[in-house]
């Protein structure tokens, strides 16, 4: 049986926060819902890399070997980097950091708690296709946030529906800046970067020298694609070998405006230079799309079905 890190239990008092429950668990951390001293909910991210088993019981994080400690502390630098970057960004569409502290021999980042669900859940829950109106709404706001991120010389590098949170009022929040660390960890197998296939741009696999705003633009394009298709586009490393990705313009012709489909295809170009070079350029392209009513024809539906089967 695989041994995993033990999460903090409900009711645990972490400084002035009371842990309620675990919300999610990622490669580098566990996120909890907790309440501050006023009873307001917050999200607390605990740095705890899953590749290093550090806590099998209780609360204190202990490295089991000197080598483990090195990896643990090294990864902590990345966690700091995320905190440093986010601390400077105060934008309605980017997750807000409220506090940062050390306890239990590890570090914690307290974030504003948001109510809603991830875009991923939204895609999975819906029976019918997402409307163009909703896609535009989500991404126009999200791009405002991403622009702010880029202004602070930070790349997100893991934009995907699971990292886009939709508040109950429908506005999106960009989450999880843990991937910004990925350029740091090349060659450290224990804390190796984990790209999300389908959403990571080709240069993330092979050419970290070429990362730029266009890399996040690829993730945005792939996420928009996923909203329409309900599955991710073909992984970029496979596309570089043999590109099977059918253009959005072909799959959804007649169902979405031609321009939004063109924008998606533009974002998903394999050559970084052929994509929109900045979020601003992308926003401009999306703004230029004339609003059209979605038409569902029998042929269109059939075409969509066929292509999505091939694509999947």
């Amino acid at each position: 049986m695989a041994v995993t890190n033990q999460a903090l239990v409900g009711g645990y008092q972490l400084l002035n926060y009371r842990i309620d429950r675990q919300i999610s668990r990622g490669g580098f951390s566990i996120v909890y819902r907790a309440f501050d001293e006023t009873g307001a909910p917050v999200a607390i991210k605990e740095y705890l890399p899953s590749s290093l088993v550090l806590r099998t019981e209780g609360d204190i994080v202990r490295a089991s070997s000197a080598e483990n400690l090195t990896s643990f502390r090294y990864g902590m630098k990345c966690f700091f980097e995320e905190g440093r970057a986010l601390a400077k960004i105060n934008h309605p569409n980017v997750v807000r950091v409220l506090n940062f502290f050390r306890a239990n021999e590890t570090v914690y980042m307290v974030m504003r708690y948001e109510r809603g669900r991830t875009l991923q859940q939204q895609i999975q829950m819906r029976q019918d296709q997402m409307s163009e109106r909703l896609v535009r709404h989500v991404f126009m706001h999200l791009l405002n946030g991403l622009r702010e991120v880029h202004t602070h010389k930070l790349l997100h590098l893991d934009i995907k529906p699971a990292n886009i949170y939709l508040r109950t009022d429908g506005t999106p929040v960009l989450l999880d800046f843990g991937a910004a660390r990925q350029t740091l960890t090349s060659g450290r197998p224990k804390l190796a970067p984990m790209y999300t296939p389908g959403f990571a741009a080709p240069e993330q696999y092979r050419e970290p020298d070429r990362l730029g705003p266009w890399t996040d633009v690829y993730g945005v394009g792939a996420s928009m694609f996923a909203c329409l298709a309900a599955f991710a586009p073909q992984a970029a490393d496979a596309r570089v070998q043999e590109d099977h990705l059918v253009s959005a313009k072909k799959i959804w012709a007649g169902q979405y405006s031609e321009n939004i489909l063109e924008v998606i295809d533009w974002c998903l170009r394999l050559d970084p230079l052929e994509r929109p070079q900045s979020v601003f350029a992308l926003q401009k392209a999306i703004r230029d799309i004339p609003q059209t009513k979605r038409k569902l024809t029998f042929m269109g539906n059939l075409k969509k079905m066929l292509f999505s089967q091939i694509g999947a």
Binding site: R73, E81, R84, N90, N99, F100, R188
Partner: protein, 306 residues
């Protein structure tokens, strides 16, 4: 900042090494300095040492964590080093002021700035091509500029060691300042003394250093340089920086400065660097550093709180 750095000084066939070199960096600014003490003069070794020390000290006073005006810093520090050598000679009633060449480079916010006095050089390579270099303050360079001799005649010219600008000289130094030069990932900065450039031209350096990990080839290049110097070989020294994350090797060789606290510095003087004593990439965070980082993040949160 992310970069890979190498520095080494070799004695060649000389009894003493009068070259001095160092680099130091804060979280956001990197400084590299190379000085070649002038052998024909008293205490060349001392001169090089004083110049390098002064650069480090002033850098650590001013780069908190960035320099307000890198070019002004370079100019001022060169002049101060020149003055410091004069007072040193005075203090010890030396007949002649110790003299040295000096080249110093600052990298800050993705841009490089450099200044030099004498014939220690800086080369900036991009994708194997030379895109920036210092021009020696030497008699032979003057002859080349005047069209009196060709570039290939420089190495063997009898006056090749004569320089007209140095720190500690009778007249104030001529200081050349570079422009603010944007760096791209993969750019290579080489700073070296004449012991290296005399035996290895810039094309060869580019070949050694561009497409292979510098921590592998730079030591080979230095060994080759010393070998070529032969029985009369001069001291040879170089600092090599590859800007941006290391992508040519699987080794974790990139120095990462983002997690350094404000007011912190890493400094390496003269020592030959190997993978094991390199700071940054492999080193653990100490408890103090963790506290520093947390404090800094908390103060940033406070600052940006609405």
């Amino acid at each position: 900042m992310r970069f890979t750095i190498f520095q080494e000084s070799r004695k060649g066939s000389r009894k003493v090494n009068q070259d001095r070199l160092a680099y130091t960096y804060s979280r956001d600014t990197l400084m590299l300095v190379v000085a070649d003490g002038m052998g024909g003069h008293a205490g060349g070794e001392i001169a090089a040492q004083i110049a390098v020390r002064l650069f480090i000290e002033r850098f650590q006073q001013e780069a908190k964590p960035v320099l307000k005006n890198p070019l002004k810093f370079l100019q001022d520090t060169m002049l101060r080093a020149h003055a410091a050598l004069g007072s040193y000679a005075n203090q010890f009633s030396m007949l002649e002021t110790p003299r040295t060449t000096c080249v110093c480079c600052i990298v800050q916010a993705g841009h490089a700035y450099w200044a030099h006095v004498g014939d220690s050089r800086l080369y900036l390579f991009r994708q194997g091509g030379l895109i920036g270099a210092t021009k020696d303050h030497s008699k032979v360079q003057y002859l080349v500029d005047q069209g009196i001799i060709g570039v290939d005649e420089v190495i063997d010219h009898p006056d090749r060691n004569k320089i007209f600008s140095c720190l500690g000289g009778l007249v104030d130094p001529v200081i050349d300042l570079s422009r603010r030069t944007p760096l791209r990932n993969g750019d290579i900065i080489v700073m070296c003394t004449d012991g290296l450039w005399a035996v290895l031209d810039q094309k060869e350096m580019a070949t050694w250093l561009t497409s292979t990990p510098i921590l592998k080839t730079a030591p080979q290049m230095m060994r080759e340089g010393e070998k070529r110097g032969g029985p009369d070989g001069d001291n040879l020294s170089a600092i090599v920086v590859r800007w941006g994350p290391e992508t040519l090797t699987d080794e974790p060789s990139t120095t990462i400065t983002e997690t350094m606290g404000l007011g912190e510095f890493e400094t390496q003087i003269d020592r030959t660097l190997t993978l094991t004593d390199r700071k940054g990439a492999q080193r653990d965070l100490s408890d103090d550093e963790i506290e520093h980082a947390i404090q800094e993040i908390q103060s940033t949160i406070q600052k940006y709180r609405r």
